[in-house]
């Protein structure tokens, strides 16, 4: 049973560029959430996708957008990258919408913005 997978593992981008990160949920899960984790900090919730729609959103600007596909996989897009966007981006999947369902996290994508 495959767990949550994310790609790429590492990524280096320049300020102003755009980036797309990908996530495949754990088999059988239908909900994907994205988090940003700065070095030495706890994860911060970005948004959650269920049934191909954004259901919840944290305090992140519109530069952060996402998509969920019919197979439940998801993408996180960040436009006009800033240095402060450098972080570990975590994807978590669950069976069911909302935060009270157990979330399974992937290993993350390390994004460095120079």
């Amino acid at each position: 049973d495959a767990g949550v997978t994310q790609s790429p593992t590492h990524l280096i981008k320049t300020r102003g560029q755009q980036v797309t990160l990908r996530c495949s949920p754990k088999s059988g899960h239908d909900t994907v959430s994205w988090y940003q984790q700065a070095l030495g900090q706890g994860p911060q919730f970005i948004f959650q996708y269920y049934e191909e729609e954004e259901r919840q959103r944290g305090n992140f600007p519109d530069r952060f957008s996402g998509h969920q596909f019919p197979n439940y996989s998801s993408e996180l897009n960040v436009n006009a990258l800033l240095l402060g966007d450098s972080a570990l981006y975590l994807c978590a999947s669950s069976l069911g919408q909302g935060m009270t369902y157990e979330q399974y996290f992937g290993p993350g994508t390390r994004l460095t913005v120079t």
Partner: protein, 111 residues
Amino acid sequence: GESVGLHLPTLSVQEGDNSIINCAYSNSASDYFIWYKQESGKGPQFIIDIRSNMDKRQGQRVTVLLNKTVKHLSLQIAATQPGDSAVYFCAEIYRDDKIIFGKGTRLHILP
């Protein structure tokens, strides 16, 4: 402010001893709490959860205690093992289903 915090950034414990990791929360409307373990290079892993209508919950070698009077949450790990070395996060969920993570406590196991 409405945030989840931790008392100690680093905790060193002798192997075999019990570990206690603390967390303070400020939102009295939070009704669900989760402890996560994050090992180096990995995403957070669910350990145990507790709802606000409970004050104690036990799992395998772990116990979570919730004191709503002083808004305090703790994770107790019995007979700490080298594999318990990680950063531990508490997270609180508000009634409108928002989740907030604390900054984390690093647990260091002494041989």
